[in-house]
Amino acid sequence: MFYREAGDYKTTYAEDSQTFPLKLDRYAYYTLLAVAFLVVPFVINDYWASAVLIPFLIWSIASLGLNILTGYCGQVSLGTGGFMAVGAYAAYKLMTSFPDLNIMIIVLLSGAITAAVGVLFGLPSLRIKGFYLAVATLAAQFFLVWLFNKFEWFYNYSASGQISAPTREMFGYEVTGPSASAPAKYMFCLVLVLGLAWVARNLTRGRIGRSWMAIRDMDIAAEIIGVNPLKTKLTAFAVSSFFIGVAGALFFAVYLGAVEVGEAFGIQKSFLVLFMIIIGGLGSILGSFIGAAFLVLLPVLLKNIMAGALGWPIDLAAHIELVIIGFLIMLTLVLEPHGVAQLWRVAKQKLRLWPFPH
């Protein structure tokens, strides 16, 4: 079986416009899902869950969100950390105010609250463009973090200023709190990732996604052909903030369990997510996952090699990590400004002709 359309007969429009039109792609995707749902939960241990898999899933959601705003709609945002903080604090307030509410509903509601905040901070994007907007979103970052530190209501007047997630269950399994098991946390994040990725994929190839891309490519021209910039930009901000809010809620409730806002959702997190989508690929769903996987795995790998195998001091390893990440970003931009996802696209084009290129 070769990697191409020939021989794969489509008989309905739905089949014709499916996400993976090629048989091999489709099988690969189903295999991946089967492994993720049926194999990984049974072999996962605490180290893999907390060091690699759960952060990867959560950062994938965040980078999907930012990719919608920056990659698809062209509005650069440096406020990701602040919006994640909104998601986290919304989840915390909801969890403590409504103890009986299902955790899934809480996470989705936190996303909705973040979406509202995102729209608020997205309003200036109608006047402010490009770099000016990037810097303006920093206002969201610093203001929100300050707000959550300053007003004690947000952390229920706790003495430490931290928020910590109480235990909540889903189908009888604990997914948050100190005694939640790794497979339960993993499955909870996985279901959300799958659902949100499906939403993102279908939004971006539909009417809304096309209007985002029209605004990204040239906003004035888009306006002239009838794309409403107000609606388009604000929906991008809303959807993107929803994703980022969900990621923030998961990051707090499922992954860390207890957070201090300045430390967990600082400006570094905004840059981290931005790097994920640059390395992965702007304007690509697959790219969001590749970028997240890359930047989650790289530090773990480097730490294990340098601190573990070679026995170097940890601070030295941290510096080398900075150098390598910076270098990789520059290298990606020089070699392939559209990220790793573009390499994948090119490879697929080549594969379609192989082994008879002419």
Binding site: V76, P124, R127, I128, K129, G130, F131, Y132, A134, V135, A136, L138, A139, F142, F143, V145, W146, N149, K150, M218, I220, A221, I224, I267, F271, L274, F275, I278, L310, W312, P313, D315, L316, H319, I320, E321, L322, V323, I324, I325, G326, F327, L328, I329, M330, L333, V334, P337
Partner: protein, 336 residues
């Protein structure tokens, strides 16, 4: 009330001085943005790198000592000499020029004609890279910068204001030095760009890349020059901030403070950078003073503190909604 007014004035003057320090960083941004349309996020890290290099050279540290020790199991730290400040400054300037050349050679050359946002992200990558390299070269401990700059209370101003108002203002000598240096820098830059051949070429490039190329100006040479000047300004900013709070990682975060300054002043205007810096400096100090004062608490029922973290951004944001190109920026004209 008179007391409050005096405290407010003191806060405003101190804000003005801090604002000048912000402007020092913002100046480097403006220069690079004008000449190459690159929004250089790495400016703050360049300041850190410059200051680190200066201290390292002055104290005779072995570059990459930590790395060498880790790989070869040796224990070397210093060459064992102490250079005079002037020699160290000259050597550091040399390093910054070399850095400018390398950046042009290895990075910018390959990114010509890319979208501005790609270039911006490349400089973020550069910032991370340099931060790591700086730490690897000189170590990440907090260093003190010793260039013989006087620090602390300026007694002349203290005594004079005490005579006039019965309350001595606290103005730091270092801030005054920084303000004077900033003024000298701006004057020198203006003279350089108005009267020297290279300066004129620089302005030509800023006006129009294509036209400048067609009259025989080497774009690549100009970029090296601009990055070298920006590196020099970063060094000055790094020295001033480093003398104030020690040479450490947080120095690179002044970039974030310089961004609202730029937005307010406009990305393309040197006077804008200075005036924007002053507005932000005075604004954030006065705002903090007002919202943390007791009569604000009496009036609104709560007081706020540590507003300096976000005030500058929110001010710039509100300001931009009304004037998207900043105070002195070129008018943004969009065509299809």
């Amino acid at each position: 009330m008179m007391d409050q007014f005096l405290y407010g004035t003191e806060a405003a003057i101190n804000g003005l001085m801090t604002g000048v320090m912000y402007s020092l960083v913002a100046l480097g941004f403006v220069l690079i943005f004008k000449a190459s349309g690159i929004f250089n996020y790495a400016q703050g890290v360049m300041a850190l790198f410059g200051a680190l290099t200066l201290v390292g050279i002055q104290e005779g540290q072995v570059p990459f000592a930590g790395l060498i020790n880790a790989i070869f199991g040796t224990n070397i730290q210093k060459f064992g000499w102490e250079l005079p400040a002037v020699a160290a400054i000259i050597l550091t300037i040399g390093v910054m020029i070399l850095f400018a050349w390398l950046v042009e050679r290895l990075l910018l050359k390959h990114l010509v004609n890319q979208e501005p946002i790609i270039l911006f992200m490349a400089t973020i990558g550069l910032a991370y890279f340099m931060e790591g390299v700086g730490d690897l070269m000189w170590g990440s401990d907090i260093k003190t910068l010793n260039l013989g700059l006087t620090q602390g209370l300026n007694e002349t101003i203290d005594a004079a204001t005490y005579d006039w108002f019965g309350y001595g203002f606290y103005i730091d000598n270092l801030d005054i030095t920084a303000a004077i240096i900033a003024i000298i820098l701006v004057v020198a830059l203006t003279i350089f760009s108005q009267y020297s051949t290279t300066g004129r070429a620089l302005r030509a490039v800023a006006d129009d890349h294509q036209a400048a190329l067609s009259v025989g100006i080497s774009l690549r040479f100009i970029w090296v020059v601009v990055w070298a000047i920006a590196g020099f300004i970063a060094l000055v900013a790094g020295v001033m901030w480093g003398a104030k709070s020690g040479v450490q990682f947080s120095l690179s975060l002044i970039t974030l403070k310089a961004l609202p300054v730029l937005m307010l002043g406009g990305f393309t205007s040197i006077p804008g950078a200075i005036i924007g810096g002053m507005i932000i400096g005075v604004g954030e100090k006065l705002f903090e003073f007002i919202v943390s004062s007791s009569w604000f608490g009496d009036f609104f029922g709560f007081t706020m503190n540590a507003t300096e973290n976000w005030f500058a951004y929110v001010l710039a944001l509100i300001f931009l909604v009304f004037r998207p190109q900043g105070l002195f920026g070129d008018k943004i004209i969009e065509r299809v």
